[in-house]
């Protein structure tokens, strides 16, 4: 007999949700580390000795990538909110 319909406190979600949240936190921690590395790489790689229009495009792309990484980071915050309510 399904008792969750009668007693929400006995729903299995109370056992499963912590596991899900731990998984999400682990994924977010790993992702933030990768994003930190990527943003550092983008800033560092802009300093290469290279001139011309291709070089300008290269630096512009790395600046855009740095900003894109910041956007992904905000997305992780939104994901965290979905896990914690």
């Amino acid at each position: 007999m399904n008792t969750t319909h009668l007693d929400p406190q006995r729903c299995r979600c109370h056992d499963t949700a912590p596991t899900t949240r731990q998984l999400v936190e682990r994924l977010i921690a790993r992702s933030e580390e990768a994003l930190d590395h990527a943003q550092t790489a983008a800033s560092h790689a802009r300093t290469v000795t290279w001139s011309g229009s291709a070089a300008e495009h290269y630096r512009d792309t790395l600046s855009a990538a740095h900003a894109q990484a910041a956007g992904v980071r905000e997305g992780l915050s939104a994901t965290r909110r979905l896990a914690w309510g």
Partner: protein, 510 residues
Amino acid sequence: MAWQVSSTITGGEARTAAELEEFNHFAVVLERAAQDLESAASAWRVGGMEIDHHRACLPWCPAARGTAEPGHEAILYPALTESASDTVASFEALAGRFRSTGDLLMRAQSLYSEADATASRVVTELIQLGTSVFPGQTAAAAAGVSVVAGIVGSVREGRVNPIHMITGTSWAQEGLMSGLGAIVGGKGREVPLLGFGATNELNMGAGTVAKLTSKAYDLFQGNALQVTRVEPNRPFLEAPRSIADAMANLERLGMERLGRGEGGTGLDYGTIAIQRFSHADGTVSWLVTIPGTDGKLDSPFGWPQNVELMSDDPEQRMAADSARMVAEAMRRAGIGEHEEVALIGHSQGGIVAATLAADLADRYRFSHVVTCGSPVANHPIPSSTWVTSVENDDELVSNLDGARNPSRPTWVTVRGTVRPGAANADRPFSSATVEGANGGKELSHGMNYLRAAYRNASGLGSSALQSHERHFSAVVDGTLEETTYWRGRMSRTAAVAPGERGDVSVHGRK
């Protein structure tokens, strides 16, 4: 379907060790960032499946259906699963951006090219070895690969297109040509490993073949060469100021002389152009523009002449009708022995340019040679002559020399890889769209494909290519004083046709 070309650059002035280390360092930094981000994407992909599994274990819980209800955990599984999927896409897109930026750096600084050239040389020599030792089996294997490539390519394109049989085997063509040359030239009968260090087997083979074909073709075509100065009906070629401009002129002349150009000039097959420039310091320089094979029966630029031009024997090379024709036109144009000369040629025209630079170096001051789609790797062009070669991976013709071009400070090779689709406007330096190519797969030997390869390469800011551009431009940056056009015809007799206008000179083969 549109087509695009992405280029790498080999040769030119060597980087310092410090420069190479700097570029390599940043290329590694960007690649590691891309790999980290891809790893994060993979983790979210797996994590998303695990989250979905958690949801599936809660069939009666409103959280699993995405509904918040009092007393249950406030975790909305469907939205969380979708967010995980979006995060995968975000990390993959970011990884792609880092990787493409690293690729731009590597191509612009030729970091791919040297390693690729070495690896390619190993593959080429192994295939040559196989061809020499097991010619029948290698030929059968090559035919099999070619058929499969033709089928796969045709299926992808959605129609039967035999061109894929050629382009799909581009990675093996140099080795096969080299092995064939070794057999024909007699080197295949020696211990095969002795051929491992050499690169001119095909030229030796061409020399052997040309001894027969030139005599046979002379019986058919005649060996009396008539060189006539012709006047176009209107001004035609403009002054080029760069290698790209000169390639544009080469394409225009090539199309015009075959009746496929703008029209109205009256220029026809077997025609080349010689331009004279004057400089502020009183010096004079020249540019000779040489289109490729026209295949006309009385043209010095017929198909059989290609074989002679590829010979490893300098006398045999210079005996080719097209080489004789251009040499005679240069003499008649009045090019002085101390005046700088640049040559640019497409296909056979490029082989002629390389032949003249190699074999008439004691008669003229050949400053710069530009070859477009020409198999000239083994032509002994002096290192004092700068060479800029433009080739495409799958055009076949450039691979007919059986070797990669020399990589030296005064020889730069731009090598294009052709892919379907137009260039991505968001990645302006990754490739260049081919003008006038909107159909199925075709051989990328046409000047429009080669110009796209050069256009992509010249945008990369490679110091090696920029150096070659400056060197070429110095020859053509004077005032264009005159453009003359010269037409060659072959016949069995030395008689000049009645009513022939302009100067005429007639030469038989030595």
